[in-house]
Amino acid sequence: MKLEGKKTLWKEYQKEIASDNYFYARSCIRQNFFPASETTFLRVLREELGKTIHEDARHTTCTGIVYHSDLVTIETTMTVIARQFSLMTQSGYLNYVASCITSFGLYTEILDMWEHFPEMEQKAREMLWKATKREFEKPKSLAHASDIIYKFRNEIAAKSKYKLINLNTGQPLKVVEHIGCHYSKMFPHKGIGGAEYPYVLVGMIEAFGGEVVDYPERRHCCGFGFRQYIVKANRGFSIASSRKKFESMTPYKPDFILTNCPGCPYFLDRWQYAISEMEGITYGENGHGIPVLTYEELTGIVLGYNPWDLGLQTHQVAVEPLLDKIGIPYDLSQKYLGSDGEFIGKPEKPSVLKVY
Amino acid sequence: MYQFDWFVLPFAVGLIYLMIALFVTYARWIKNLPENERKKVRSGLFSIKSIFAVKEVFLESLLHRKVFKVNPLLGYMHMSLAFGWFLLILFGNWECRIFYHGHLSPPYIPIFFRYFNPHPETFVYERFFALLMDITLLVVLSGVLLAWTKRMYSRFFGMKKTTVLKPGDKLALTALWVIFPFRFLAESFTSANFGGGHFLTGSAGTFFANFLPTQYLAYPAWWAYSFALGLFFVSLPYSRYMHIPTEIVLIFLRNYGVSEKKKFSTFTKVEINSCSRCGVCIDQCQLTNADIKDVQSVYFVQSVRNNNVNSEKSLNCLMCGRCDAICPVGIDIASIRQASRYHQSIQKENSFSYINDLGVKMADVIFFAGCMTHLQPTILKSMVTLLKASGECYWFMDEVSGICCGRPMMLAGKEAQARELIAKNKAMIVASGAKTFVTSCPICYKVFNEEYDLGIEVLHHSEYLLRLVEDGKIELTSQHQKAVYHDPCELGRGSGIYNQPRELLAYSLKLQSVSQEARQGLCCGGSLANIKINNTDRKKITYEAINLLTENNPDLLVTGCPLCKKAFAQLSPIPVLDISEVVSMSLVQKKYYVEMDEGYQSAKHVESFAEIQA
């Protein structure tokens, strides 16, 4: 592999990322799947990096899930998105940051469409006006939340308490990454590093001391695929897609999977459990699975945040072996206590997959 | 007390051994024939059939009539050896009988008569028999000389190739070659010592006595003669000469109606052991045009005998039947090869359960085009035109979605699969209530005719069209082209239909004859029976066939098989037509025909056809 070749390519896929004053739009599903990730993102930006980031309680879904399930028309979608932009405009921001890959992809798509078909933008404005009497400005910059972390990866690394180094061997941890299809596959030039050799997560891993491992099915879908999962009859395809990725990455013995998207960590995490129950197969070391992290969780980990504050107890695949490798202390007795100290309940023990 | 000398022992022992060996072998074969075949033997044994068999044995086994027809020189060689030897024995026995006044003598006496009675002056017929035996011996010796020559220079006999010998054969052959020279020497030396003999042995004896110590040589020569005979008899059951006695058995069995079946039987053993390895089938085989030299019937039969048939020998054959047509022994080689394919192939039931409910139409006449005709739209078009013109109520059975007739499967030895296809087609034919079944493909024709057991008449389209013409249902005009008719193998040799196509074509064309036709007709090279041959080799065969067929510069080449047409059309310098196309082109176009449409197939219209005719 010629890194020089990659670097040349990466140079072609750079984009302007605003350095401050962000308007943040959350993801519909992340707060359920990995509830602390978005919180961590805000905490890192505000506390560690001292940035201004604004949220508006009135923001809604971008319609991405129904849009990609062919259940709404483009008009509905672009009107909803227009309303999001209008909230941003109303708050006095210009830099839109989406927490969700699919939202990011959809915003990009809508903005691109408006650029090519200005009459559609006009239509969106009219419909938004009719429905809500709102007006909006298009964002000056549109970024995915990972772009922001990527932009400040070196600053974060400078503040980090832990490096992605295996304590026992002194070697960098081997990380496989999954970019999320909607991040750059549709609009490679809107993602850092493009679609073939995306750099946004690689940049973080390298900055945090880890080593990225390529694997054959790196670009393959995580298995969410919207209709693949949501329609139960198709669910076999969803899990088969994830399995294809696991089988492809296992020979490289990755220490963890870093993900970019709301659906990806969820399916890469939960399907490991489902596969173990259905086929008795696990992909990690010693009967554990391969831990799956969101980039916010990773950032929190290197910054030394309490693993349970990062929501790592909500993972199906145990993250403790990874924490042990990095040398991060954790208190198992605190694992299932909420922020108020109340017991939040403990999941049923899987029959195959090993957990703590 | 009869005369005796120790030297007769090798002969006597050999003869006894041979008799026992042959008896045991043939008894076992006949005993193991399938029950119904054995019944035929029992009922035929004491009937006129045995007389016919004796006649045939005389004509074929002794005179070798068929070999004569194929190749006179080769025929003479076989005849001089077989019939000559037979006469020697016959005359020897007469001589004995007369000499000993009707008393039976042991078999060695007639054989070695001259040793025991070199010059019996008291015997009144001595001079007569001496002359007779010398003439016969000369004939036999000339045969031996020819056999030597054939072995050395086969081309002298007009044969391109001759058969290859096995070690057992060599022993027997050597013995056979020296038997008569030794007899000649023994009798000559004896004549030199004691007188007797005639123009041959007498003169030779006098001649040898000039420079040889004949008094010392005569006795060893008799030993050598006896020894050669004994050796030949003992080695005969293990050599190709087994064919001599076995052919006699074959002729008898065949006259009783025993025949080859789908599987090997002990009759197959009789047949394959009757092969004299004469090799006429080699030159007859068109595969030699493509330089394929090791699969010809003589080699195939040999491999069956040695129990080492490989797929190449069994499957690399056009099954054209030209070797059958020429085989002097009349071995049913095609059936044996077919049976070997059966034994080699996988028999699988229910391969075609996916075919069901193809739809049936009620009709008087069924037309079945067959797979190959479907690749020849002009034949299809002609047949449809003619069927419409005939006014008969017909059903074009495989117009849209027909299935295969089963013949190709059968040719590949897949009997069970073929039966399944046959059952499916048969059910449709029976349901249609048709009384006549017509097909434009000889491959289909053969299987419909022989295997379907339909209970209705099955006609090749040439027969059917001829009938339409003869019945006045269609009328043909005479064209002026000279044409050659090519006999498709499956139609001609395969089904015995040679004349009907010619009669039909004679209505419109001037038919030329060619050197290789009818029973000697050529294969087009397209044969479905050969699964092994590649297309380049096929083309060589086709090319040679076209060369022979067009030797008299005809304007047209006509055939009765869509596959032959396809094969020829690729390479032929002159147009190639199917019979139906010729008939369709010479059809007298009445206004009536033109007006007829697709729906014109009912009985009502037949009546109106009659009105128009009137």
């Binding site: 259905m278 | 996916y354 690749l375 190709p408 699969q417 596959l563």
Partner: protein, 121 residues
């Protein structure tokens, strides 16, 4: 052991070229070398008598063998009626009937071999 979630993991349709064995193709090729001339034009499948009723396609079978997916060929090859139309239309001179006959023979051999292995177990 397997827990029922109400769905199963779908099979991968991908031809994993490195995992499949092409030994059957090599055997077939030895028996009928003209198979190498096939260019997948599909004329054979278009004219096929059996193909009217089933998905029998010689073109496809040759490809499947070339890719090492022998099993589906073994399962379907006996649907052929050996009528020979394919042979007449093949533009590359493949001896298609000989090819099918050979595939049938080799299929049976492989089936027997597999059966023997099962019996041993």
């Amino acid at each position: 052991m397997a827990k029922d979630f109400g769905y199963t993991i779908s099979c991968d349709r991908q031809i994993d070229f490195d995992k499949l064995s092409r030994s059957m193709y090599l055997e077939v090729k030895k028996a009928e070398p003209s198979v190498d001339a096939c260019i997948s034009c599909g004329t054979c499948a278009a004219t096929c008598t059996a193909g009217q009723f089933t998905d029998f396609s010689l073109r496809k079978f040759i490809l499947l063998l070339r890719r090492g997916d022998s099993l589906s060929v073994i399962q379907s090859i006996d649907k052929c009626m050996l009528c020979g139309k394919c042979q007449l239309v093949c533009p590359m001179g493949v001896n298609t009937r000989g090819l099918i006959y050979s595939i049938q023979v080799i299929s049976r051999r492989i089936e027997c071999r597999n059966r023997r292995v099962v019996n041993k177990m």
